[in-house]
Each structure stands twice: as C-alpha cells, then as structure tokens.
C-alpha cells in the first residue's frame, strides 16, 4: 500500500478529471466533485507525510514499471523528503484554488475543473518522477491545461499572454529535451537514481535554461508580467506558487546533483543572476502600478532568493531553499487569491484607485495584513526563517552574496508595506464601492487554511528545514560541492 501512495497522488486527480469531464453534471456538482477529489488528495498526502521516514535518505513510496525497455526508460516514481513537502504544498494550494473556482462559479465548469485536476496530477508527477523522460513528460503535461485555462478564462489580453508563455516555455523545454536525450543515451539509462554525474557544460546549460525560464530568473522572465496579469486569479496562484517551484525543483533534483563540477564552475553566474533577480524584482515590485504587479515581481525576487540558497551548496542554503519554496508557494497563492477577491469587488487592481478598504472590513484587513507581513519576512515568520537560512548559507560562499541578500530584507519591507497601505489604508479609493463586502465565508474558507498553515510553520519552521533531506544531511543527495 505504501508503494502505491505516489502513484495514487499522481493519478487520483487525473481520474477525477476524466470523471468530471465526462459526467454531465451541472456546474455546482462538477465543482463539488472536483473540490472533493482535491481534498481527498490532501488527505492522501497527509497519510504519506505521517508514514514518511524522515531519518532515511532513501527514495520512499517508490514504484517502478518498465516503459521503453531497450532505452531503459521506466515509469519510476518516488519521493524524497523535499519532494514530499513540495507535493504537500501542491495539493494544499490546488485544493484552495479549486474550491475558490467552485465558489466564484467559473463558466464551462466541467472543462475548467477537469483541467485543474489534470494540472494537479501533472505537477505532482513532476515532483515525484525519478525517470528523466517521465519527468519531461509531466513537465510538458503541465503546459496544456495551463494554456487552455489562461486562454479561455483569462483577462482581456490573454491570447498574447498565452502565446508568449507557451513560446518561452517550449523553447526552454526543447533545450531540456535535447539535454535529456543526449545525457540519457550517454549514461545508457534514463533513471535518475541510477544515472551518474556528467561533466558536460552544454547539457547542464540545456537544463538550467529551461528551469530558469520556469522559475523564473532574470533575464528570462519576459513572460511573467503579461501571463500573471491576464490569468484568472487562482491560476496565477498556481502558476506562481507551484509551477515556478517545478523549475526550482529541477535545479535541485537534476541540474545540481548530476552536474556537480559544472554547477560549481558556473555558480558565480547563477548567483549573479539570482541576486539580480532578487534586487530587480524587489525594486520593480516597489513601484508596480497594480497589486498583481507587486506580487508577480516579488515572485521573481523570491525565486532569486531560493536560487541563492540552492547555489550555496551547503546545509544552510539548501534547507533554507526547500523551506522557502514551500513558504513562497503558500504565500504567493494566498496573495494572488486575495488579489482576485479585491478585483472582484473593485473591478481593478490598480493601486492608485484603491485604498481605505480596511474600514468596515475587519476580516479582509486582518487577512491581508497577516499575509503581507509574513510575505515581507518579518522576523519570527516562516519566510524569515527560510530567508535567514538561505542568506546564512550563501554568506559562507562569499560575504557579498549575503550582503546583497540582506538588502532584500529592506526592499521587501518597502514594497510589501506600500502595497498593503495602498489597498487598506488612507482614503477610500475611487474604485472601491461602499457596498463592497468583507470577506465572505467561502472566501475565508479558501484563504484561512493557507494562512493557518503559514502561522503554524512560523511557530515550527523546523518541520521542513530539519526534515528536508534524510538524516538532515544534504550530502545524502548531492555530496558537498565546495
């Protein structure tokens, strides 16, 4: 039974998607079925988490079945500790987004919910695939539902946005595919747990470019603003919260462990790009004209921070990076959902037109304020814990990275406080109608669990940081790269 857990986590939503697509249910029932499936998925994940042995460094809940035997390609899935946490973030965020989609009543509900469930399965597959071609298949499989979700249910400029998004992603994926094929043929197998390290720079770059586009990192983030602005709020939440993590996970699972010497040689370049992303993203977030702009540029900054942690190549940096990946997934999902809720009340996200929404709306004010201050990594929050570990780790690479990262602390305070005040405080903005309601029960049911997870993690961030790599030793995965 244990071994089947991963496969269940991948294919349960897929099965749910098929059922929802086929059964001629009315909108409400399709939505409730989808929500039920996603909550069952969360339940399965909790089961997996309780059964997981955090003291062991081995792959757990693994399953393998031969697929293309003469190339040594197999269906091999399993979870390490950090994959477990990322799968957990995925299931929780997707459940929240599906419930949100149900609550606001999307058109063409059956198609919508089946696509969301398909997306869930694909993302879980990315985090658990242990075979490179399988990984690639799931990586691409994420793209199809996203393309349709944005293209059909998105905002006014959605067609251009999807086109840009798809072109960027596919270019990266093609490079990655080339790397995968060459690497797999060189090694004679595509199974990640059996492949040895390689010293080829081009293969490394093929992977890194694809992941850097996904994460995203400066300067490959050109698809970011239009896509995040035009997507429906919950799809942006998924994109920023989880799909971006797929790129970062790829760096962690494939690019760094399989190319240790190349990664070491190229670390300065990556650290520079990460630092630039951090500072650039924070500055742009500070002056972004709309709330979504603030959140999307802060995602760019956080991706930079996480890559700083990954390329610190030590326990502190990597544990911090995993913790921050989960943190950011929850935080940006909540922020995008809140952006959606504000937009539904005011028909705009422009900060200049908002303001004073705290008056008479205590629930909205409390949730926005709480999420905002966790997002800016106020000390004692879980995001501070992640940021502290990352910067302490990368500081040991060279003090300059730590110093640049420390400026991120100040910049985050600046942009987040500006955004919060622009929405909640001062005069009531021209776009805020008197009749705009406080957060209703359905909306609270979506964001409050996310906030509660964040608060619980703030009390005990060690849940993730101390249990990200078996026996808490990063060397179990990647060996210590000096």
């Amino acid at each position: 039974m244990n071994d089947w857990l991963t496969t269940i986590l991948i294919f349960l939503p897929v099965a749910g998607a098929l059922v929802v697509a086929v059964l001629p249910l009315p909108r409400y029932w399709a939505g409730s079925l989808a929500a039920l499936v996603s909550l069952i998925e969360v339940g399965f994940w909790i089961t997996a988490a309780t059964k997981f042995d955090f003291g062991s460094a081995d792959l757990q809940f693994a399953q393998q079945a031969s697929w293309l035997s003469d190339l040594n390609v197999s269906y091999h899935v399993g979870q390490y500790a950090f994959s477990l946490w990322l799968v957990g973030a995925t299931t929780v965020v997707m459940a929240a987004c599906i419930v949100y989609g149900w609550w606001i009543g999307r058109e063409r509900a059956r198609a919508y919910f089946s696509l969301m469930l398909l997306l869930t399965g694909a993302i879980v597959g990315v985090f658990t695939a242990q075979d490179l071609l399988l990984f690639y298949a799931f990586f691409e499989a994420m793209l199809i539902p996203l393309y349709i979700l944005i293209g059909v249910w998105g905002g006014a400029g959605r067609l251009r946005a999807t086109l840009t998004f798809v072109i960027y992603t596919v270019v990266g994926s093609l490079l990655m595919l080339a790397s995968i094929v060459v690497y797999g043929l060189q090694q004679g197998t595509f199974d990640l747990t059996k492949m040895g390290p390689s010293t080829s720079t081009w293969l490394f770059l093929g992977f890194v470019v694809a992941f850097a586009i996904k994460a995203p990192l400066f300067p490959l983030h050109g698809w970011l603003p239009s896509t995040y602005r035009e997507s429906p709020a919950e799809v942006s939440a998924v994109l920023s919260g989880i799909v971006g993590k797929a790129g970062l996970y790829g760096l962690l699972r494939i690019a760094i462990p399989k190319f240790p010497t190349v990664a070491h040689d190229w670390r300065i370049v990556l650290l520079v790009l990460a630092s630039v992303s951090l500072v650039y993203g924070s500055l742009l977030a500070w002056r972004a004209p709309d709330f979504r702009g603030v959140v999307l540029y802060s995602s760019l900054a956080q991706a930079g921070l996480i890559v700083l942690g990954l390329f610190a190549f030590n326990d502190l940096g990597l544990d911090g990076a995993v913790l921050q990946m989960v943190n950011h997934a929850l935080i940006s999902a909540t922020l995008f959902l809140l952006a959606g809720m504000v937009e539904r009340r005011t028909s705009t996200g422009e900060l200049a037109l908002l303001g004073g929404m705290a008056r008479g709306r205590p629930a909205l004010a409390t949730i926005v304020m709480t999420t905002g201050i966790i997002a800016l990594a106020v000390p004692l929050s879980t995001s501070f814990a992640g940021e502290f570990l990352i910067l302490a780790g990368v500081f040991q690479q060279h003090w300059a990275w730590g110093a640049i990262g420390a400026t991120g602390i100040v910049l985050a305070a600046m942009y987040m406080l500006r955004a919060i005040s622009a929405v909640l405080h001062e005069d009531v903005g021209p776009a805020v109608p008197e009749s705009a309601l406080d957060l209703r029960a359905g909306e609270l049911a979506v964001v409050v669990p996310l906030v509660v997870c964040l608060l619980a993690l703030s009390a005990y961030p060690n849940l993730i940081s101390g249990h990200a790599f078996g026996t808490n030793k990063v060397s179990s995965l990647i060996g210590v790269v000096k």
Binding site: L380, Q396, S465
Partner: protein, 625 residues
C-alpha cells in the same frame, strides 16, 4: 517554577492578542481593554515570581534556560525556541510588564470610545509579547525574531489612525529604517554562524573571535540594529514622526521599552562589543552626538509630544554612552528610571491633550496647568526627574553614567563634557516645556476647548496610572546611589561586569556638575518663559529643520531608489517585455515570410529545384559508396 513563570509571562500577552483578534466584533470594546490590561498584569505577576525565585538562589545559579522545541535547524546548526531567565532579563521583564500594564490601563481611559479600540489592545498585547520575546530570548535568532516583531507592532501602532496618510507614512518610515537595522544584525549573525557555528548566548560569547575584522564587523552589525531601534544618529529620523501614534503608544513603545532595546542588546552582548573596542567606543560617540543634537532640536519644537520624543532620543543617548563606555549597570539603571519618568511625561501630556480634544501645539496648550492642577504636579515631578534634580529618579541614574565616563581616560572625559552640556540643555528644554504649558495664564484656546471629564481632569484610569508613575519617579532612583548602596549593580554583576566604574569622588564631582548644569538650564528657562525677564530668542533654523537629516535621507535614499526603479522600468523591463511579446512573434513571422518566397508558383523554379536536389543526392550516394 522559574521556567514556568517565564513561559506564563511570555505567553499571556500573546494569548490576549490572539483572543482579541479572533473574537473580533463579538465582544465589547471595553472587554478587550480589560483583557489586555489583566493579561499584562498577569505577566507582571509572573515576572515577579521569577524574580523572587532568582532572589532565593545564589548568584552563580541565577541562569535558567528552558526550551520549547527546536525552532529551526539545518545540518549541524540548531536554533531552539529557548528562553533565558537571568538577572538581566528579569529586570527587563519587570520593567516591560510593569510599565506596560500601567500604560495599557491608562489606555482604557484614553482610547475610550475610539472606533477601533479592539485593534488597539490587540496590537498592544502583541507588542508586549514581542518585547518579552526579545528580552527573554536565549539565542540571537530568537532575539532577532522578537526584535522584528517589536518593529512590526510599532508599525501597526504608529499607523493606528490609518485614514491619515501622515500616520501611514510615519509607520512605513519607522518600519523600513528598523528593517535596515534588522539587515545589519542579520549580517552580524551570519558572521557569528560562520565563526562559531551557533547563536546561543553562552556559546557565542565564549567562542566568538576576540579581535580582528570579524569581531569588529559583528559588533558593528549589532550596533546598526541597536542604533536603528533606539533612534540614535544616524538612524533616528523615524522617532519624531512616530508621534503620529496615540499617546499611550508613544509612552510605551517610544519611551519606555522598544527604543531601549538597543541598550539592552549592547549590555547583553557586551562580550562581543568588548572584543571590538572601536565599535563600543563608536556606540558611545553616537550616543553623545545624539544627546546634544536632540537636546538642541527639542529647544525649538512646538509640539508637546515631539519635545518629549526628542528628549527620549537624548536620554537614550545617555544610555548609549553608558553602555558604550562599559558602565553597563549604570546604563540599565537609567533605562529603568527613564521608563518611569518618560512614560509619566507622555501620559501626563496625554491627559492634557485628551482634555483639549487632541491639541498638541504648546502655544495653544499654554497655561493649561491652571485648569489641571493634578496634571501640573505630576508633570513637574516627571520633568524634575528628567533633568536629574535630587532626589528624583534621574539624578541618581544619569549622573552615575557621567561619573563612570570619567573612568575612561581622555575619551571618557570628552564625553563627560558633552554629557554636562546635555544636562544643561535638558534643563532648558524640559522646563521651557513645563513653564509654557503648565504655568501662566491659560491661552484663549485652552479656555475655550477645555472640557473636564465628569468633573475630573480625565478618566480615572488615566489619573491613577499617572500617579503610580509619579511615585516611581520620585522614589525609583533611590534604588541605587553609587557611593552608598548599589544593589542593582551587584545584582547584574555576574551578567555584565562593567569595565568602567566611578570612584566616590568622581560620583560627587559628576553629580555636582550635572546638577549645577541642570539648575542653570532651569534658571534660563524660567527667566525666559516664566518670569519673562528676557525675550525668547528666535529659533535657530538649523534646529527647526532638525539638522536637515530628513532632507538628506530623502535625497540619498528615497529619490535615488525611485529614479533607479524608474530607470529599470524604462530601460530594462519595458524592452524586455516588449521584446518578449513582439520580437519573438515577429521573428517567427519574418522567418516564415522569408521562407515562403521559395513557394513562388513558378513551375520552372520547382523543376530546377527538383533537378538540383536529385543531382546532390546522386553525388552523395556515389560518394558514400
């Protein structure tokens, strides 16, 4: 038992904050005030229990640590959620919860009938929790956590009147400046992790580098945080703006407790500072500069709260001088007495402000003392304590710092002189304030707008709390009178042995000189403002403009970042986005158009292409043979 008391002390305010937040509008506003007050008093009781417990032990045993769980870990590094109850932390706990509960009780009256009272008390409880976390932490990470949370509570409370853009701007400014301090502290912690592998006090103090660049940088980073939190030059500009918050907030956070956290940090980590003499001396220098500059600015301020705020800045300068020169118990003693009389001053001013419907301009408040005799008396007590007149509290604490400075060679002597000048200024600005506001004939405004509260000067909760503080300001100083008895120094000795202690004659000399300077200041103020023997001098523009610090920072930090961001948007982001959206698609279009010219519809060119292709294939096949 001590450990349990420590946890109770810490968690009661947190429970109060959470309860008030969750209860929302379901409970009455009064109730939230009572909950907040009673929990803080409960925390004070727990602190007293801890103190009594420590009293019963021998000095070597007075260090108790208790861990809840490992908060964060990574590889070989572990950081626990650990509390420390020792001589120093218990003193701070008593001050924070004691003065805190008085101020929160005061707020019951002050904030009555405010729309958002509940939010206020939730934030106040959150603040008390954060401050306790800061002083009870056993490792630098949890201290930093409390440090940041205190900054957060300050932001929430300064921006309490959230419809006012000025208040919001002040709140943001305070937070961002403190975030800068957080960043420098984080860098110091990274250095410590690199050199010692841990952040627990005991381990760090034992194994951190004893000298050299690393030691200096560590101390400098910590000093950066302390300077930001305690509003010393050059990170002081947020404090006057913070007066936008309600008066109890100014009293609790910006006088008695939060701003003194920097002093606590230096005293607690004195080992690290002693490993970096230059930085410790720098701390003293910054304190000296601040105390004079703030005193000068206070001379020309016309807002009653701003005068008291600059006075706070100046007095913390004294504490920095004390801590920076190594007279740790003296600095802590002044911290304690300052908490009493500064809170008293703010709260007494608050009674006047409350009675005159929120007016804070001293020219309009002039003469209100005639209408409010009780307030006048308590304010006078506070002012006398501030200036350091025997036997009020400030006399004992402030002079002991000056005395200790004589123990530090020529550097200390220079600072001593500055300190005496500061005493003169203190007497001058403090009594200017007293004479203008509380003596003489009431101004027309005061007469017109004064409204008594049910026959008394203010709500009962405001009056009795102020009374308690007045009593403390009278007798609090008697705790320690260095030549004769010094129980506080003896109590704190195992934790922070001073490296500068004054001899008896230094004590008398310092006391005498500073007392004379204070009296001189009072005399000058009296002759200008009370007896009106001389005309008031025209305010110096430099002082009125607060030495142009705000303008400097606006230019250097704010405007430059703004231009940088605008430049990035225009020259990097727009081309990048435009490039992505249009260039990518047009590149494909261009390529497609170029290629399609081969499909020109001419049979003959197709035939030529066929022939050419066959010829190439033939050659290839022949060659491959």
């Amino acid at each position: 038992m001590i450990d349990a008391a420590a946890w109770v002390c810490l968690l009661l305010p947190l429970a109060s904050a959470i309860a008030i937040t969750l209860a929302g509008t379901r409970v009455s506003r009064r109730l939230t005030g009572y909950v907040s007050t009673i929990t803080t008093m409960g925390a004070f009781a727990a602190a007293v229990v801890a103190f009594i417990g420590l009293l019963g032990e021998s000095p070597e045993d007075r260090t108790h640590t208790t861990t809840a769980w490992t908060w964060l870990s990574a590889g070989p590094y572990h950081f626990g959620l650990t509390l420390l109850t020792d001589q120093l932390s218990v003193v701070m706990m008593l001050i924070v919860t004691g003065v805190g509960s008085l101020i929160i009780a005061y707020s019951l009256g002050y904030m009555d009938r405010e729309d958002e009272e509940r939010r206020f008390f939730a934030y106040m409880s959150l603040f008390v929790f954060s401050m306790l976390l800061l002083v009870q932490a056993n490792n630098l990470l949890i201290l930093l956590a409390g440090w940041g949370m205190v900054g957060l509570s300050s932001y929430l409370l300064i921006g309490f009147y959230q419809e006012r853009p000025v208040a919001i701007a002040a709140a943001k400014k305070a937070f961002v400046m403190n975030a800068f301090g957080d960043a420098t502290m984080a860098l110091a912690l990274f250095l410590l992790i690199e050199h010692t592998g841990q952040l627990d006090y005991a381990g760090v103090f034992a194994t951190s580098p004893q000298s050299g660049t690393a030691a200096n940088l560590i101390a400098l980073g910590l000093l950066g945080g302390a300077v930001a939190k305690s509003a010393q030059v050059p990170l002081h500009t947020w404090l006057p703006d913070a007066m936008e918050g309600p008066t109890p907030v100014s009293a609790l956070i910006h006088a008695a407790t939060m701003v003194t956290a920097g002093v606590y940090l230096i005293v607690r980590c004195h080992t690290l500072f002693e490993n970096a003499y230059i930085v410790e001396d720098l701390a003293a220098a910054l304190g000296a500069i601040t105390l004079v500059m703030a005193g000068l600015i206070a001379l020309v301020q016309t807002d009653i709260k701003k005068v008291i705020a600059y006075s706070t800045m100046s007095q913390i300068g004294y504490m920095f001088v004390g801590a920076g020169l190594g007279a740790y118990p003296n600095a802590m003693f002044h911290l304690m007495t300052h908490a009493f009389f500064k809170a008293l001053l703010f709260l007494a001013a608050g009674i006047a402000i409350h009675a005159l419907t929120g007016e804070q301009d001293i020219r309009r408040l002039a003469g209100v003392g005639k209408l409010m005799p009780y307030t006048k008396i308590v304010f006078l007590i506070g002012t006398l304590a501030l200036v350091g007149i025997f036997p009020f509290a400030g006399f004992f604490s402030k002079d002991s710092i000056l005395a200790a400075s004589l123990d530090r060679g020529w550097y200390g002597a220079t600072i001593f002189v500055i300190g005496v000048v500061g005493a003169l200024l203190t007497g001058l600005y403090a009594f200017r304030l007293y004479f203008v506001v509380f003596t003489g004939e009431p101004s027309p405004f005061a007469r017109e707008h004064y409204h008594a509260h049910q026959g008394k000067e203010g709500p009962v909760s405001m009056l009795w709390t102020v009374g308690v503080l007045a009593v403390l300001s009278c007798v609090g100083g008697l705790l320690q009178f260095a030549p004769f008895w010094d129980p506080l120094s003896k109590w704190l000795d195992p934790v922070d042995a001073p490296i500068a202690t004054a001899t008896s004659w230094e004590e008398w000399f310092a006391s005498g000189l500073s007392l004379s300077a204070g009296l001189l200041g009072i005399f000058i103020a009296w002759s200008i403002y009370a007896a009106k023997r001389r005309p008031a001098p025209k305010p110096v523009t430099l002082f009125e403009k607060k030495f142009y610090w705000d303008e400097l920072y606006d230019l250097v930090w704010y405007r430059s970042t703004e231009s940088l961001t605008r430049g990035l948007y225009a020259f990097v982001e727009r081309p990048l986005i435009a490039g992505s959206l249009t260039a990518v698609t047009s590149a494909f279009g261009l390529g497609s158009r170029e290629l399609s010219t081969a499909q020109n519809g001419l049979v003959r060119s197709y035939a030529l292409a066929l022939a050419g292709g066959i010829a190439v294939l033939a050659v290839v096949f022949l060659a491959a043979r």
